[in-house]
Assembly symmetry: C2
Homo-oligomer: 356 residues x 2
DNA sequence: TTGTAGGCGTTATCAA
DNA sequence: TTGATAACGCCTACAA
């Protein structure tokens, strides 16, 4: 606010005390270089035609006054922001973090800027829509919650691709990329039976979680087909502590299951610790498997069998969809299932126990 | 590209096939509402004077055509973007993730948009500066790498606050907020000695890491003051596997230390598993402590004593500095040490062993 | 409280 | 290849 800086001009600290020096504009560069403003603009536009001489003059002038081309007016002009939104949350789960990091790296390398928004489970993305729109994002990636139908129609209207992770929502516009949850459940069921279990429990996440329910469906179907069955399904938060508590219940003395499949690894790791607390030997008395293949699953204290959802493949697929929808090569509303793989470790096979 | 949509006008799919419908502008809203464009602008500007009648007309018209005010021209006009950069990386470490998430939530609640950039250890932030400048960010938070002196001078010139986490860099402009690394080292040293150790090892991170070296310095000083000593310092990556490997070395049969302090929790958890692999009993034969207090430290399989760097407090302090520098209440280049606390668990005290 | 008009820093069009 | 000039969509005096 204060303009008291003038009386101190010449001293070292001026920059700190002055009102913000504005960024130099292309006009100032042009003046200094003795060329037109358009010449400056062209110098910083890929593929524009500028002579080497002009380019050199501009570059030198720009360097002298510290010119940084602004992306803001360009957005107005081109109605393309190079800004891509990512709505993330639940970063306590390393899988979510890995997805976020992978998206960020790839988008950054592709020349986009990532606008990160935090969303909770309950809090729909809807209230963030005005912001997303205000910054004229070119696309949106969701790692959790779902937009309301109304909001996704809005994005559709402006042809802004929206790609969601692990959602079943039928939607004309929002595309989704999901690990093959049912397939993962089947893989685990097959493994359990193959290793000798006939009665298994499922430690689900929240009861309204689509992914968890899909995993259960595949698990149950395969078990029954193999002559085994589910003895128990319990629900809890998708976290270690919740898994620990839930497992303590499930593993109460009478009618204990021979195996537990957990909706995700965090729950499964809690279950492993619960079993140990009860003196139950893994995998001899109880097998446990999870889903996500987070780094902690391979830690030696756990050595957990799990399903790998192939996060890299998910991210790659999502970006492919993003680009295709952007280019109108395909319409929105695509749904792609990414194959999963089983990673067997010591929690289901004593043959795999510690050896390094 | 194609304008073939016209022949299908009236069908459902039009929006998908047309070229992107542009966002409606305030001018269109004004026309529809029968007011001036400024009236529309005022309606969406907090604290502007608009009559209820006008506001109502505008709001209705806006709703009808799906108007979303653009932030872009505002940025040009006010040279304030409400965009804040966060440079993050190493998200395999849950502490980094927690910081990122906390920053994001708080900035979002404060009305800012987060522009997320991924940086690696080696890759300096410098090459991202053109992008940061292009989007005219209002501030920058760093969780890792350091800007070059040249880049920070650029931010200083434009009075863009930069707040760094856990860095010692002397800098006129970049502020930093750090956990009290030396203090943490001292706390652990005191604990080790109190619990009976006289020979301790330090499992450092990378040898050029400031935080790790500070922790070592505090640890060493306190040990010596108490008549104990460091028998070994080894360096490794800040990760579980690296810690496991390094610990296997350190714990080779002869002259085994009685306690190991690790530069972070991931290393420490690897060390715990290494000790178990060697049949060493924790805490009886060996005490282990880490730094960061990541969630995994409290998992029952580990129950690791650690130093809590108070991430919430770090984030809060960083935001406070950000605002003050922005308001010119303080100059940049501040350095603040955030107190840490010791969290003792079973890895240093058998009295704390499993009881729930 | 309202409208008019100028400007923010680019890109895009068109002549030269 | 260059330079005028007109947008882009909003904010902000200023005048009414």
């Amino acid at each position: 606010m204060a303009k008291r800086a003038s009386k101190r001009s010449g001293t070292k600290k001026d920059a700190t005390l002055d009102q913000p020096r504005k960024y130099p504009s292309s006009i100032e560069v042009a003046r200094l270089a003795g060329v037109s403003q358009s010449a400056v603009s062209r110098t910083y536009t890929a593929g524009a035609s500028v002579s080497d001489a002009t380019r050199a003059k501009v570059t030198r002038a720009a360097a002298r006054i510290g010119y940084r081309p602004s992306a803001i007016p360009r957005i107005m002009q081109t109605s393309q922001s190079n800004l891509v939104g990512i709505a993330a949350g639940g970063l306590y789960n390393p899988l979510n973090t890995a997805l976020l990091e992978a998206y960020t790296i790839r988008l950054q390398n592709a020349g986009y800027q990532v606008l990160l928004f935090h969303v909770t489970d309950t809090n729909s993305l809807d209230e963030l829509v005005p912001r997303l729109a205000a910054y004229r994002i070119d696309g949106l990636f969701l790692t959790r919650t779902v937009l309301s139908r109304r909001s996704s129609e809005e994005f559709q209207k402006f042809h802004i691709p929206v790609i969601s992770f692990d959602t079943l929502d039928k939607n004309d516009w929002v595309s989704s990329v999901c690990p093959d949850d049912q397939g993962g459940g089947r893989l685990v069921a097959n493994l359990f039976v193959q290793r000798g279990a006939t009665k298994a429990a499922y430690l689900a996440g929240k009861s309204d979680n689509v992914a968890s329910n899909e995993r259960l469906e595949g698990f149950r179907a395969a078990l029954e087909q193999l002559g085994a069955k589910i003895t128990n399904v319990s629900y809890c938060a998708f976290q270690y502590e919740a898994g620990y508590r839930a497992a303590l219940e499930v593993l109460s003395p009478r009618s204990r299951p021979e195996a537990i499949f957990c909706a995700n690894d965090l729950i499964a790791l809690g279950a492993v610790d619960a079993a140990r607390r009860l003196g139950i030997s893994i995998p001899n008395d109880l097998m446990i498997a999870g889903f996500d293949n987070i780094p902690q699953s391979s830690w030696r204290a756990y050595d957990l069998t799990t399903v790998n959802p192939s996060p890299d493949s998910i991210v790659e697929t999502s970006l492919m969809i993003f680009k295709k929808v952007l280019d109108r090569a395909i319409p929105g509303g695509v749904r792609i299932l990414v194959p999963v793989t089983l990673i067997e470790r010591a929690s289901t096979s004593s043959a795999l126990a510690i050896n390094n």
